[in-house]
């Protein structure tokens, strides 16, 4: 502690010879840490602890079982097949989101931040609209649009002569996952758009004016000046997309049901977890196996985030204005 204080400017004020305790740090941190720990962390720890237990069906009591649940998850052919299927689907879900959602979000934000653009507030509100909708609404809208029966989609395609392109995408195993991923993109594009928009707006005019004086405008201004400055934000968005996708559940639940059909082709880690932990229809919940899946999900996400934090984040330069 002593070394840090020698450069702490606050010390210049201190009259006393003894260093004053920095209570304000604790005060700033306390409320958040308190609520967070009591309402989120402790219950979650209790649940993760469940992954190390099993229930004896005869006496209905829990007993410590070590890593048995994990062994079953990875060792038993059925469980592991379900798990790897869910993981594979989740990765594809993430890829579609990264490849489609984020570039389009950045492009839209870039367009919106052009100072001479008129109607910016209107566009911003309109494009963000899907993001404020609940999963129930989103699922319902898209099921209706893609429905082959009174589909808006078939008639729209018919009007441009492309009717033969229409397929019941949500009902076919090879297209269902991509379709649901695209629906997710539609819903959440507002978030990268907003974050990047905020970041682009924080770039002071002087920087942009200086660039223009040097003759850099338009496209190259975007690539050479704006993009590098918003890389940290893009970083945040990437990691948020990663975490969000690997925790995703509601959209698949609403459009495809907890069984994530057809034929488990839309089953991702979140739906797999839900079915296992809470049960579904006749399948009884197995909180211990569910907790094991949750632990593995947590580990996957933790690894991804650490890779980002230590590999990427440190290397991004932050600019202060």
């Amino acid at each position: 502690m002593a070394t840090l204080d020698t450069i702490d400017m606050a010390d210049l004020d201190a009259q006393a010879t003894a260093r004053p305790r920095r209570w304000h740090i604790a005060v700033f941190l306390a409320p958040a840490v308190l609520i967070y720990t009591v309402v989120m962390i402790l219950p979650l720890v209790e649940t993760l602890w469940l992954s190390l237990l099993r229930v004896d069906p005869k006496t209905n009591t829990s007993f410590f079982a070590g890593l048995v649940n994990f062994q079953t998850l990875f060792g038993d052919p059925r469980w592991s097949a379900s798990f790897w299927n869910a993981l594979r689907n989740n990765v594809w879900f993430f890829i579609i989101n990264m490849v489609v959602q984020n570039p389009i979000g950045v492009a839209l934000a870039a367009l919106l931040s052009v100072p001479t653009l008129k109607g910016r507030a209107f566009y911003r509100t309109a494009i963000f609209l899907p993001t404020i909708l609940s999963f129930v609404i989103v699922g319902f809208i898209w099921k209706l649009i893609l429905s082959p029966l009174w589909g808006v989609a078939p008639s729209l395609l018919k009007s441009v002569g492309l009717r033969h392109l229409f397929h019941p995408w949500l009902g076919m195993a090879d297209s269902a996952l991509t379709t649901v991923s695209l629906i997710s993109v539609w819903q959440f594009i507002g978030i990268p758009m907003m974050l990047i928009y905020a970041a682009l707006l924080s770039i002071p005019d002087e920087v942009l004016e200086a660039a223009e004086i040097d003759g850099i405008t338009g496209w190259s201004q975007f690539w050479k000046i704006k993009l590098p400055l918003i890389l940290p934000t893009i970083g945040i968005i990437s990691i948020l997309t990663f975490v969000g996708n690997f925790n995703a559940f509601d959209l698949i639940y609403v459009t495809q049901g907890a069984l994530a059909g057809p034929n488990f082709s839309t089953d991702i880690l979140g739906t797999f977890l839900y079915r296992t932990f809470f049960g579904y229809q006749l399948q009884l919940g197995d909180p211990n196996m569910g907790a094991a899946i949750a632990t593995v999900m947590f580990a996957i996400i933790l690894v991804g985030v650490c890779i980002y934090l230590f590999g990427v984040q440190r290397r991004l330069r932050r600019y202060q204005f």
Partner: protein
Amino acid sequence: MSRARFSLPRSAAMHAALILYTIIAVAPVLLIIINSFKDRRAIFSHPLALPGPKSFSLVGYQAVFSQGSFLTYFENSLIVTVVSIALVLLFGAMAAFALSEYRFRGNTLMGLYLALGIMIPIRLGTIAILKLMVATHLVDTLTALILVYTAQGLPLAIFILSEFMHGVSDDLKNAGRIDGLSEYRIFFRLVLPLIRPAMATVAVFTMIPIWNDLWFPLILAPSEATKTVTLGAQMFLGQFVTNWNAVLSALSLAILPVLILYLIFSRQLIRGITSGAVK
């Protein structure tokens, strides 16, 4: 002001792209709203048509308003959402400030600890949370929901806000210290106004999962007096029967308040930026 040349083709292209995407974003929602004003046959025979004199029907809205006290649901959703956002922003900004500003032992650890919450769905702790609420007599109260949503929203808020706070100039803060301002003053008077865009952004997308959440109102506060709008709307999704009219109407009604809240906060975003503090 930018002195870059204003070019008509380029501006037209930009608008075209934006309009195209706007249509993609908005049309599906309009579809729902338009159809909420039609009767059931018209909804399915001509989904794209505007409600005409024959097909116009308010039967959906009538069902919605008669089936439950939707006004109470709105009130509940509003209270829960607004209070949770307020707490998330306040406590989150405070914690983010502490993490980004001060170097102390355990800073990185605390940051990682607080970031853990982003990675795990809070639903996993449901049973333990419910037990907690039962023990503190908070079941069927809005306070239970507020506590859960605050805890849920804090990690992401802290993560994003601390990122933006790193960008606030150290010179400014040190100048404040030299002038004798306490850390609290520096936080409230100097730093907070500068990150208003980030605060507004965090507010906007903390609000959405809270407003649209079905799970926790169902478990923690399902009583008639504490139901939220989403829970109330879900009433119409039956086991085998879907009262389409009522569902569409309820969903349309549910969109409105979120939209208004969003518009309010996005105003703040603009104001924060145009009043540009640093210079």
